[in-house]
Amino acid sequence: MPKRTDIHKILLIGSGPIIIGQACEFDYSGTQACRSLRAEGYEVVLVNSNPATIMTDPMTADKVYLQELTPASIKQIVEKERPDAVLPTMGGQTGLNIADQLHQQGYWEEQGIAVIGVDIEAIHITEDRQLFRDLMERIGVDQARSRVAKSLLEAKEVTQELGGLPVVIRPSFTMGGAGGGIVWSHEEFDRKITRGLEISPVHEVLIEESVFGWKEFELELLRDSNDNVIIICSIENLDPMGVHTGDSVTVAPAQTLTDKQYQHMRDTAIKMMRSIGTFAGGCNVQFGVNPADGRMIAIEINPRVSRSSALASKATGYPIAKVAARLAVGYTLDELPNDVTGTTSACFEPAIDYVVTKIPRWNFEKFEGVDEELTTQMKAVGEVMAIGRTFPESLQKAWQSLEIGYAGLGADREDADRFEVRDRLKKPYWDRTLQIRNALKLGASVEEVYDVTKVDPWFLYQIHDIVKLEEKIRNHRLADLDAAFLFHVKQYGFSDVQIAFLVQDDVTEDEVRAHRKKLGLKPAFQLVDTCAGEFPAQTPYYYSAYETANESDVSDRKKIIILGSGPNRIGQGIEFDYSCVHGVQATKDMGFEAIMINCNPETVSTDFDVADKLYFEPVFWERVLDIIEHEKPEGIIVQLGGQTALKLAQRLVDNDVHIFGTPFEMMDLAEDRGKFSNILKELEIPFPPYGMAHNPYDAVNVAERIGYPILVRPNYVLGGQGMRIAINKEEVEMYVTNILKLMPGNNILLDLFLEDSIEIDCDAVRDGDEVWISGIMQHIEPAGVHSGDSTAVLPPYSLSDTVITTIRRYVTEIANRLEVIGLINVQLVVKDEIVYVIEANPRASRTVPFVAKATGIPVARIATQVMLGEKLATFRARGDLDSTLVGYAIKEPVFSWDKFPEVPKELGPEMRSTGEAIAFVETLTDEHFRRPYEMRNLYLSR
């Protein structure tokens, strides 16, 4: 069936601010959907309150409403835009819930608006545990035995009926598994049940037989209006049941199922999808398999694109959201081409000839007192994906992608002791694969590790193979590693850093690299083609592997590599991906071949049709340099990818690789507090008195000299990690000790904290001739709350003209002095009409997309073009620098406190928000301003 011609205008509902459990994967899916619907000739109206997204760019949709997501706001838009249809499946649970609320009111029907991509009646079945259960029973699908309880008393009865503890609890209608978990003991039973009942909007909790330790699988499905169903990808969770899939290490495709087991799962998934209505679109189904007898049960079904479908898209190359959007408007799968091959049909099931590993990324260090045990409630804030030809290769690459200082699966530092390993293995923690490696290394058997972890032995054997190879490397000196053996080692994903650590002689990573290259060993870039090589493919989507044939042909065009920002984490999230995508587009606009390197499957930047060429690789020195040596680009853009990219700048310069934009020495200078303060002195710009220390003793001396309250923080971190405000020397000593425990060897910065002052964020672009201030944001909360956690108002709402002029002057002078080419962000505080500069970051900041959305100016794109030689005057002459803002734009931080009930809700110098929303207000009497203003001191802590 061709596309529907009875609809012309489609309303797409986004997912709102990033929270744990619902992150930037919905920017990826929404953006794909918007693009493909527009390509089909539909007019797309988008509503989303998250400014840090590509989907809310004017180029993505015909009309973008940056507005909060409530039934009332949707109604307003509908009344104005009169769409013919609404597509709610691209905006996560938020989008679905709103569409459902309006459906309950009969709104869509009354307005004559078609709900496409989902069977709205079916949403309840999938979200309501009891309805789902009943349906599964009706269609003959096995599931865990369970019952719903509406009170603590009933919960006790149900538990008894199921054979006692442990049991799993799942509150109905909560997102990301909020409030769910395993109850092991009677002590925690009352507390957890009560909380579950409270958190559920309908105050009911499902109590389930424990399938803890069972194997867990997911399938990603697509269905069209002709009822054709295909499976895009199977995913096996390395972490068995009991850990939320968003917190699990997952592997694609499934590794340990026989064909008969897999087909049974496939049949069941299809049956389940068909049982929840007749919609056309994407769907995710989760299963548990009892390792003892192979019994398979259905866990849940999500009738929409999800985090897993983003992963499945990146893992297979199959653009799920793009195809799902087209299916929603009436196309059938057989009418659509496979965009990857260009010659075959989209109606097929991808075959892959590599292994994909996803590892989540957590930010526990930001939440004091947090329970780090992984449970059925998601706690991760981001994830990395790595592709290798084998599981060991992809697992090691995933560890290299995480950016937590590891050069692979361990083997790059002294090993943890036996007691620590034993302790860590008992429960699922974030570093489980590493602890498995440690245990095997210490001599534990696969059987012992299995008994404790219930991780399928297949994965354990594979990790054991890595460990055995590690031992072999230890017997060699670097010079003794011959080509055949080193090639074998590299095929297991070992980085040069690990090899340098393992060999007997004392060598550096660079020496390993030199030796390796002398032996002629370098990675071969392989194509992600959806078909295991069966057909030629056209999409330029590559990964590295140690194989014998390179598939990534180097063009004769001038090329530029843009380094991505890696996994999302608090302080470095989707905002940087936003800037990267704009950087890529600007690079293309300037006539260069734009090459993207990134390892985050949730992002738009890792879509194969964004850059001219995509390397889905760790933003890890060795891998990046391998690509640079292969592509020989004109240079690299490091300004856009946050600290991830910036961290590599020094080594790029050392290797004579050109960096576009601000010279490296200047970026480095800005990071060096001492040198930067000298510049401020030289420019006669005030800054709070500061000092530096390497140990608690020095720190106390500095603090006593400067005075209190004093801001204590480690050098070179993003998002205020470890930052505290101390009011006496005991606190200084304690904070410094804590920081050094977490980050040994780090410099400690101490700044006088200016109490009751106003904090300012200023973004600017410099082109060598002039500085353009793109936005000045005044925080509502007093200084002391991390800028990422503050409510920021653009333009400032209470600063005098003199102060604003001073801010502009300081920022201009600093940008000039730092010879910035491209972006700079300066943080300032104002106290008693005096402006102090706190820090300057000559790179894309978290606020770039907010400023862009607020003013309607594509700041990141302009800045990139400036880096590549364009002048601001050109943009100004075209009117590109004219703001469209009327009134004020407010950036509202959004937190995920509900995921960490044990952590007190408080704001301080350490960033804790996971996302943000934007609100446009005409006057300061608006609720969006008044509410945070009145509460500005409420959660202030130190």
Binding site: I230, Q255, S345, F348, A351, D456, E534
Partner: protein
């Protein structure tokens, strides 16, 4: 499960075009030659190794980890492995699955199946994709490149090769008795799951060797005839084609799968050609032109029916491959017959096409069985 892998033993794979790659031996030590082809299924290696249609071929699996879940009785499609050899990227010596009887390595050793691991299979797949399938030799006993290339070159080509007689049963036997339709299976290398599919539907199934005279088959009073899958070039099977042609005039419903489908087409005078690469995998999209539905199918064929040769008066194309528009199914007009190029019995692969067995049984039910039996009486 706790077996320590044997020490690595060198092994080589040589292609007829002179390509030689080295790896380590898996399974039995020895040497084997055949047409090197690849399969893109990510599961079901044991079913593939034991599929008689692969008789004499060296199978290269595109999925890198093979052997993950060991080997087990229920995953077998014939009494023994049928492929000549196995080529993989990263063989799994230590498997994990509750249902497994043994490791896949021990299965291979037990059945004297040779294989090679540690090969850049993707490179070879792309090589074949561009140059077409070709013969190869895998060996852990002869490691001399020149000698191996020569062996690969002199290995008989699959083109024009009759292989069904090597895998068919020696004597007729009853696979199952049932109250349902009586299905006579012409065995050219029939996969067990086809037989299981008939059994599940209550049929009585008797297997006949591929060379059995039609009259002997009809003497069993079947309600329907089934022409099985199998290896080799159907054009090299004139007797089977003649038999099929004769059978088509007996008023008996006939169903053909894969080689059986090709034989039926040839019997109607249509052309069959050897494909450049062939279809081997479990993800091939096939559109049923009658219902408009798409099935994800298992395929394993290197020959195909030429659509231009299909006479509209004799047959209609009912199924089409969405990737390359090749003929995937026929419905015959001059008799009650249907055939598909792909494998509705799956194993391995998706179950989307199992309805074809029901469709065949309906064809039988609609057919006037009595008339057929009278014909048989006359023939006697």
């Amino acid at each position: 499960m706790h077996r320590t892998p044997a020490p690595l033993h060198p092994c080589k794979l040589a292609l007829a075009d002179g390509t030689v790659v080295s790896g380590t031996a898996i399974g039995a030590r020895g040497e084997a030659g055949g047409e090197l082809c690849f399969n893109t299924s990510m599961t079901g290696y044991q079913e593939i190794m034991t599929d008689p249609s692969y008789h004499g071929q060296i199978m290269m699996m595109t999925y890198p980890h093979i052997g993950n879940y060991g080997a087990m009785d229920i995953d077998t499609e014939a009494a023994r492995p049928m492929v000549a050899g196995l080529v993989v990227r990263s063989f799994t010596f230590r498997y994990s699955n509750q249902m497994a009887d043994e490791s896949f390595e021990s299965f291979m050793e037990r059945h004297k199946l040779v294989g090679i691991s540690g090969i850049d299979t993707r490179r070879l797949v792309r090589h074949i994709r561009m140059k077409g399938v070709m013969n190869a030799v895998v060996s852990s006993v002869d490691l001399d490149d020149e000698s191996l290339i020569e062996k690969a070159r002199s290995w008989p080509s699959m083109d024009g090769l009759e292989l069904a007689s090597k895998v068919t049963v020696a004597e007729p036997y009853d696979y199952c008795t049932g109250d349902g339709a009586r299905i006579a299976v012409y065995d050219f290398g029939c996969k067990l799951n086809i037989l299981r599919s008939f059994r599940e539907r209550g049929c009585a199934v008797r297997i006949f060797p591929g060379h059995t005279a039609l009259t002997d088959v009809l003497a069993w009073n079947p309600d329907g005839l089934f022409f099985s899958n199998g290896p080799g070039d159907p054009r090299a099977m004139p007797e089977a084609i003649a038999m099929a042609r004769e059978a088509m005039g007996r008023g008996l419903p006939i169903f053909g799968i894969c080689l059986g489908h090709q034989l039926m087409a040839l019997a109607q005078g249509f052309d069959v050609y050897k494909m450049f690469v062939g279809h081997r995998g479990a993800n091939q999209p096939v559109k049923n032109l009658v219902t408009g539905h798409v099935e994800v199918t298992t395929q394993n064929h290197g020959f195909a029916v030429d659509p231009a040769s299909v006479e509209a008066a004799q047959a209609e194309v009912t199924h089409l491959n969405l990737n390359d528009q090749t003929v995937e199914g026929l419905r015959f007009k001059t008799f009650a017959g249907m055939s598909v190029q792909y494998h509705p019995e799956a194993s391995p692969g998706p179950h989307d096409s199992r309805y074809l067995f029901d469709q065949f049984l309906r064809l039988i039910a609609e057919n006037d069985g009595v008339a057929v039996r009278e014909v048989v009486e006359v023939a006697r």
